[in-house]
C-alpha cells in the first residue's frame, strides 16, 4: 500500500511542498536563533508573525504593492521586537512570560485591526511563482527547488546570511558573546544591552517577514489567528537546530517535509486515521532529535537579563 507513495511524482510533490512549507518556519526560527544567541528567549514569535502578516496583507490589499507590504511587515515586526526588547532587556522581565504577553498582544491587536480596517475575509494577489531561468529546467531538481515564489528563495538565502553573521562578522561575535558570557563581553567594552536590542529587533523583523510570507506569498488571504501556533513551532525548531542556522534549516525542512508527507499519505488514501497522520511531524521531530543530537550547550546566558555589577 505504500507503493503509492513511492511514485516519482509523489516524491517530487512531497519535497516540493516541504520546501515551500518550511519557508515561514525558516524565517521565524532563524530570527529567533539570533535573539536566543544573544541571550533572549522570545516566546512571542507567533504574535509578531500575526502582526507582520496582517500589516503585509493590509498594505497589499490597499495598494497592491507587494514589496511595500514586505517592508511594512518587517517594520511592524521590528516595532514588536522593540517592545519585547524594552520589556525583556531594559526592564529585565522574565522572558517566558513577557513572550506570552507579546503573543497575546499581537494575537488580539492583529484581529482587532482586521475587524476595524478590513472587516471580512478577502483575498489579494500575492507574489507569483518565480521560475529561475535555466535551473528550473533541470528535470526533478528544477521542479523541486527552482519553482517557488521569491520569498521562499529569500528564506533559504537567509541561512548562509545568518551563518556568515555569526561566524564571520564582528557583530556576530558580539551577539554570541553577550549570549554566552555577558560579563566578559561587558568588560571588553561591548554594550550588552545594545547588542541584545539589535538581536531581538532583528529576530522580530524576521518573524514579521515570516508573517508576510504567509499572507502575501503563500496563502494570499488573511484571517484571525492565521498562524495557528506556527510561531511556537518555530521557537521549538531553534532548539532542534541547536542554535545553528544549518540545524534550524534541517529542523524546518524535516518538520515541513513530514507534514507534506502526511498530507500525501491522506490524499493517497492510505488507511491510517487522519489524526494520527497529523501527529506525525510532531512525533518525528522529537524522535529525530533523540537519535540525532549530541548534547548541545545552549547559550549560557539565555533568559538571563544582564545587569552590570558594582
Amino acid at each position: 500500500m505504500f507503493n503509492e507513495l513511492l511514485q516519482s511524482s509523489v516524491l517530487i510533490g512531497i519535497l516540493y511542498s516541504g520546501i515551500r512549507l518550511a519557508a515561514p518556519y525558516l524565517f521565524a526560527a532563524l530570527g529567533e536563533t539570533v535573539a536566543q544567541r544573544a541571550g533572549v528567549l522570545d516566546l512571542g514569535v507567533d504574535g509578531i508573525m500575526l502582526m507582520g502578516s496582517f500589516a503585509a496583507f493590509y498594505v497589499v490589499f490597499e495598494t497592491g504593492n507587494l514589496w511595500l507590504g514586505v517592508a511594512v511587515a518587517v517594520a511592524v515586526g521590528a516595532l514588536m521586537g522593540l517592545l519585547m526588547a524594552v520589556i525583556s532587556v531594559t526592564y529585565q522581565a522574565e522572558q517566558g512570560i513577557s513572550g506570552i504577553g507579546l503573543y497575546l498582544f499581537g494575537l488580539g491587536l492583529s484581529s482587532l485591526l482586521f475587524r476595524v480596517m478590513i472587516g471580512s475575509v478577502k483575498g489579494v494577489s500575492g507574489f507569483p511563482i518565480l521560475r529561475i531561468p535555466v535551473l528550473s529546467d533541470i528535470p526533478v531538481i528544477g521542479e523541486i527547488f527552482f519553482n517557488h515564489n521569491i520569498l521562499v528563495y529569500l528564506a533559504y538565502l537567509m541561512v548562509p546570511v545568518i551563518w556568515l553573521l555569526f561566524d564571520k562578522t564582528t557583530l556576530g561575535l558580539k551577539i554570541r558573546a553577550v549570549g554566552h558570557n555577558p560579563e566578559a563581553a561587558d568588560s571588553l567594552g561591548v554594550s550588552v544591552n545594545r547588542v541584545r536590542y539589535f538581536a531581538v529587533i532583528f529576530g522580530a523583523a524576521m518573524a514579521g517577514l515570516a508573517g508576510a510570507t504567509l499572507s502575501i506569498a503563500q496563502l494570499n488571504v488573511w484571517q484571525e489567528n492565521i498562524t495557528n501556533g506556527l510561531g511556537f513551532i518555530a521557537v521549538a525548531l531553534v532548539y532542534f537546530g541547536g542554535w545553528r542556522p544549518l540545524g534550524v534549516l534541517l529542523g524546518s525542512l524535516l518538520f515541513a517535509t513530514v507534514n507534506a508527507l502526511q498530507l500525501w499519505v491522506q490524499v493517497k488514501g492510505i488507511n491510517i486515521p487522519s489524526d494520527l497522520a497529523v501527529m506525525l511531524p510532531y512525533v518525528l521531530t522529537i524522535f529525530v532529535l533523540i537519535f540525532a543530537s549530541g548534547r548541545v550547550r545552549q547559550p549560557a546566558a539565555l533568559t538571563k537579563p544582564f545587569e552590570r555589577s558594582g
Binding site: L43, G47, L83, I87, Y91, Q92, A93, E94, G96, I97, S98, I100, G101, L102, Y103, L104, F105, G106, L107, G108, L109, S110, S111, L112, F114, R115, V116, E183, E224, G229, F232, I233, V235, A236, L237, Y239, F240, P273, D275, L276, V278, M279, Y282, V283, T285, I286, L289, I290, S293, G294, R295, V296, Q298, T303, K304, P305, F306, E307, R308, S309
Partner: protein, 382 residues
Amino acid sequence: MSNATGRSSSSKRLGGDRLFDALLPAIATLIGLLFGAILLLVLGVNPITAYGSLFQGAFGTVSGITQTLTKATALLLVALGICIAFRGGVINIGGEGQIIVGAIASTAVALALPNLPGMLLIPLTLLAGALAGALWGGIAGVLKARFAVNEILSTVMLNAIALQLMNFLLRGPMLDPEQAAAGTNVPQSATLPDQVWLLRLVPRTLLHTGLILAIILAVLVYIFLWRTTVGYRIRAVGLNPSAARYAGIPVRRYMALAMILSGAFAGLAGAVEVTGVHHRMIEGLSGGYGFSGIVAALFGKLHPLGAIPASAIFGGLLVGADKMQRSVQVPNSLVVAVNGLVVLFVVASDYFVKRRARRRVADVPPAAMPPLAAAVAAESQG
C-alpha cells in the same frame, strides 16, 4: 548571609517600600489598562464604562466572583505545577497537552467504573488525571534528562500530539454513544456518572469543590518545596545546577521529577475541569489554561501561596474582560490585546521590586543572580 542590613536600616521606610512592591503589580495593571483605554477610545467606547463593567464583572457580583474563582481553580492547579517546574529549572509550556491527557484519562476512568460509589470514584478519577498528566510531563522530563531534548521543543510538540490524540479518541473510541446514534458525531464523550461530579459550592454556578482542593494543594506544594529534602533539592537544581551537582544531587533526575510533578498538576486541572465543570470530555476544555497558568504562576512570584491570589486576580481579569466585551460590545480580540498588555506591564514592573530587593540584599552580587534566583535567594534568607 542575611539581610540584616535591610532590616536594621529604616524599618518604617522599608515598610512603605514593601507596600509599594506589593502594589506595583496593581499599578502596572492600571498602566496596561490605560493603553487599552486608548484602543477603546479609538473604537468610540467610553473606557470608564468599559472598565467599570470589567471590575463589576469580575468581582462585583456573586456570579462574577464565582466565575472568577472557577477560572482561578484551574489556573491555580496549573500554576502550582508551573511553580515546581520553574523552581526546578525546567520551562514547562506543555500545560495544554497535559490538561488534555489528564481530562482524557479521568473521563475514561469515570466512564469505565460507573457503579463505584463517589467516595471511591472521585479520588480515582482525579488520580487518573494526575497520573496521565505526570506521564505526559514525564515524557518531556525523561527526554530532557536522558536524551537532552530541550523541554520547550518537546512540550510544544506534545501539546500538538495531545490535541490530535483527543481528536482521535473523541470521534471514535470515546465518542458519546448518543452522538454516534444520532449520526451527528459531535466530538464529545458521554456524560460522566453523576456521583463523580464535584459538589457545586454555590448553587446555579460552576464554582465547585475543586477550589478547596486547589488551595489545600497550594499549601502542600509550599510545604513540599520548602520543608522537604526533595523539594529543597528541586529548588537547588533550579537555582544553580552546577552547585547542585557539586553537592551530589543528581541534577537531571530532579529536573525530570520537577517536570513529572508539573505535568501531574496540569493533568489534575484537566480532571477537575471534567468532574467539576463540564461533566464530560469536550473539545475546548483546556482553552489556554496551560499558558495562562504560567502567567498566574509568575504573577504569584513562583510561590505556591502567591499563586492563590495571583490566580484569582488573573482569573478575574479574564472573566471581567469577557464581561466588558459583552457590555460594550467590542470585539473579543480587543480583550485579548489588553490582557497581553497587562501581562507585559506587570512582568516588567517586577524590575522595580527586584532593584529594591537587590539594594536590600546588598551582599549578593546581582549580576550573578538571574531574577528568579534573586527572588528565591531573598526569600530563603528572609
